[in-house]
Symmetry: C3
Subunit: 200 residues, 3 copies
C-alpha cells in the first residue's frame, strides 16, 4: 500500500500516476502510463489497461481483461474475467505497407463507452465505436457489435437484448402500462419513449 | 521438483499446499491458497485457480484458463486454453452500494461441476450453477448456459448438443435400437432413459 | 535491443533463437524454443507462441494470443488480442488412460494456416485443420470452424462469410459482372471461379 492508499502487487507493472486512492492492482496486471483509474477499483491479475483508457471509481476489472486506448468505463462498472475490448473496426497489421498511412495518423480509433454500473460478463468481446448504457448487463461469452441501451440484458453472438435488469442485478418483470418494479429490491422503473428510467 | 514430486516453475505463484504428487504448474500460473489440485495434473502458463476450487487427478488445464471458487472439476478432464468459468449469475461490481449486502454474504456463488474425463474446448465460456457430464465435449468458443449430459458433444452460443462422443474422443455413430459402438476403440454405449451409459 | 536488433522485454520469456531482426517481444510473452518468428513483428504482452509454430514477417500479435504447434501465420497478418488457436480436433486430457496412445504418437495435431495479410479479430477462436486465406478478415469474437477464402469477411459462431474486404481493410462494394473496386484505395478485384483475385 503506497502513501496514497493504492495497493500495487509487487508483480504488477504500473506506470500510471493517475490512480485513485483505495485502488488495488494485482499480480501481472499492467496499467500503462497515460491510463486513468479512479478510486476504490480492483484490477485483477493479468489485466492490461492501455494508455488513453479511462476508468471510473469503484470499478471491478476481473483477471485478464484488456482495455485499450479509446475505452471509457463509468463508475461502479463490472468488467468480467477475460473481457476483450477493441478500438479498430477493421484491423490490419500496422506493419503492412498498404495501411501504413492509416496507422501513422491518429483518427483510426473508434471509441467505446461503458455506462455507470454496467456489467460485462466473462469472456465477452466488445466491438468498438459503440456505447453500453448504465446498468446494462452483457452475458458471458457475448459479442457486442451495436449499442446496448441502459438496463438492457443482452447476450449471444451478436448480442441482442432479452429484457431488462435492475440496478441490483435482478431481472425485471415485464413492463405493464410502461412501469415495472424489481421483485428483489423494489426499485421502480418506467419507459420514457424508447428509454427506461429508474427510481421514479 | 519439490520433495512431494510437484513441479512449480520459478515464475509461477503457488500458495496452496493441497497439490497432488506429479502435478506440474507452469510460468505465471497462480494457484491460490485454498485451491485443491489432485495428482499428475498439468497447469499451463498464466492459469488462475482460485481459493475454493477443486480439481481432480490427471487434469490438463491449458494456458490462461480461469477457475473460480465454486468450480469442481473431475479426474482426467481437459480444460482448454483460455477457458473462462464464472460463479455469479448476475454480476455487479461488489463496490456498487446497491449490492454491498449481496457480496458481504456468502450465498451469491453458483457452483459448477465438470464430470470425469470431460473436455472443454479452447476459449469456451462456462456460465455457472450448472453441470457438465462425464466425458462430455464442449466445442471451442462455445458458451455453455445449461447442463450438458454425459458423452454429449455441444457447441455454439448458446451451446447445444450435436450427438455423442466416446471416452476416446471420437464421435459416436447414431444409436440403433438404443445401442452404438465406437468405430475407433469399439467401446459400446446404450441409452438408459435419457442418459447414455458406456461399457456395457 | 540485442545485437540482432530484436527487442525482448526483460519480463518476456524467449527461448527461441529463430527471431527476425526488428521484432519486439513484450512483457510476460513466451516464445518457446522451436518457434520461428520473422522480422519486424510485434508480439504483445502475455502471448504464448509454442514450439512448432511459424510466424512470418511484419506480423502483429496482440496481447494474450495463443499460437500452438502446427499453426503457420503468413507475412503481414494481424492476430488480435486474446485470439486462441487450437491444434487438436477432439481434445482429451493426455493423462487419461484411454487416449495415452494417441498422445504418445505425433499424428494427432491438425495444422492450421493463416494467409498473408489476414486479420483475426479480438478474442476469436480458431478451430484446427483449416485454412484462412490471404487478407481474409475474421470478426471479433468469431469461432472459425471451416476454411475461410481469401478476402472474405467472416464473423459469428460458427463464422460465416459476409462479403469481402480489401487489402486496406475496407469492405468491398458488391461485384458487378465479376469485378469491383475499393471505394477507399481504388484497388480492383475480380472473381475467378469461386476465388477473388486482387490488383488486376
Amino acid at each position: 500500500m503506497s502513501d496514497s492508499g493504492v495497493f500495487i502487487h509487487p508483480q504488477a507493472i504500473v506506470e500510471s500516476a493517475a490512480i485513485g486512492s483505495g485502488t488495488r492492482i494485482w499480480a501481472l496486471a499492467h496499467v500503462c502510463k497515460g491510463a486513468a483509474l479512479g478510486a476504490d477499483c480492483n484490477v485483477g491479475e493479468g489485466c492490461y489497461i492501455e494508455a488513453g483508457s479511462r476508468i471510473g471509481d469503484r470499478v471491478t476489472v476481473k483477471n485478464g481483461a484488456m482495455i485499450w486506448d479509446g475505452v471509457t468505463i463509468g463508475d461502479d462498472a463490472f468488467v468480467g474475467p477475460g473481457v476483450v475490448f477493441t478500438n479498430d473496426v477493421r484491423p490490419r497489421s500496422p506493419r503492412l505497407g498498404a495501411v501504413r498511412d492509416k496507422y501513422a495518423a491518429t483518427g483510426w480509433r473508434a471509441p467505446t463507452t461503458v455506462g455507470r454500473g454496467a456489467s460485462l460478463g466473462a469472456n465477452c468481446t466488445i466491438s468498438c465505436g459503440l456505447s453500453i448504457g448504465d446498468f446494462a448487463m452483457i452475458g458471458a461469452g457475448a459479442v457486442v457489435t451495436a449499442d446496448i441501451p441502459a438496463y438492457v440484458l443482452a447476450f449471444g453472438n451478436p448480442a441482442r437484448g432479452h429484457g431488462y435488469v435492475c440496478v441490483c442485478g435482478e431481472k425485471l418483470p415485464s413492463f405493464q402500462k410502461g412501469v415495472t418494479r424489481c421483485s428483489s429490491c423494489s426499485l421502480r422503473y418506467r419507459k420514457s419513449g424508447k428509454a427506461v428510467v429508474a427510481g421514479e
